[in-house]
């Protein structure tokens, strides 16, 4: 009995991950709501994690370093979301806006 990964080529996973990553890039660049930008960043992180796991499964089955890396990506993403939403809430409380264009004091 073959595992599922043996029936699907590696390229397929890379392909989907590339498309999702680019959609995330588009979201970060085009959206103005801070929470939506955060969600687009999550999309990009997920696409990268899929790449890591795919490479670990296909090219490194003994040490599966990519899999360990994906675990750390998820940990960092969780920390990032908590902290980012704290900042967004604080900005919203002080400025009553979630639009990143209206919070430009640090812009050079």
């Amino acid at each position: 009995m073959e595992t599922a990964a043996e029936q699907i080529p590696l390229e397929s996973f890379l392909f989907v991950a590339a498309v999702i990553f680019s959609l995330g890039v588009y979201g970060v660049l085009s959206r103005r709501n801070a929470v939506q930008i955060l969600m687009s960043v999550e999309l990009m992180l997920n696409a990268v994690a899929v790449n890591f796991v795919a490479f670990a499964t296909y090219t490194d089955p003994e040490l599966f370093r990519g899999l360990v890396f994906a675990v750390f990506v998820i940990i960092v993403a969780a920390a990032e979301v908590g902290l980012a939403l704290g900042i967004i809430l604080r900005v919203f409380r002080n400025r009553a806006t979630a639009n990143v264009d209206e919070v430009s004091e640090l812009k050079w």
């Binding site: 599922a4 959206r31 709501n33 939506q36 687009s40 999550e42 499964t57």
Partner: protein, 167 residues
């Protein structure tokens, strides 16, 4: 077409459509729900890639905790009129940049020689992964727990309501 391929293509289409929804729907709550769908599809990819533990973690942490936090954030930043923030004038440029990126990435994927299936795709069980995490990757693991602790404290300090007379 085998069952695995069929499942993969269904998941792939669903994931891309949901990701498109995340970045295009004007309603923020809808895009959060689409994000949850994408995250669940990614969990399906992990199952197909024989890493059940990561699929579980993905569903628990991402589709569970992260999505809930984001929905909470939406709820709390709604307030009076929801800033249904306009899409921003730079979307054509964003489309150009993302389009260029996807073309470059897909060309790179298609043009490269990837190692063909070696036939030794093994199932990495929870035991193996846990052993590796606590034996070979112990230091990064501890650093990661420190990162989580710092993020936790930081989030509390930043979003805490200030008391009277303070600050």
């Amino acid at each position: 077409m085998t069952v695995a391929e069929l499942v993969f293509y269904l998941l792939a289409i669903l994931a891309v459509v949901a990701a498109l929804g995340v970045v295009t729907t004007p309603n923020v709550v809808h895009s959060a729900l689409a994000l949850i769908l994408t995250l669940v599809c990614v969990a399906g990819f992990y199952v197909l890639l024989s890493s059940e533990f990561l699929a579980l973690v993905q569903v628990l942490i991402y589709a569970g905790a992260v999505a809930t936090i984001i929905l909470f954030g939406l709820m709390l930043t709604r307030g009076r009129e929801l800033p249904s923030v306009p899409a921003g004038a730079q979307w054509p440029l964003a489309l150009l940049a993302a389009g260029t990126l996807v073309v470059v990435l897909l060309t790179a994927v298609l043009d490269s020689e990837w190692p063909r299936d070696t036939g030794v795709v093994t199932l990495v069980g929870v035991n193996t992964l846990g052993g590796a995490l606590f034996r070979d990757w112990l230091l990064p693991f501890e650093v990661a727990s420190l990162v989580l602790l710092v993020a936790l404290i930081g989030a509390i300090v930043i979003s805490r309501q200030e008391e009277e007379g303070e600050a």
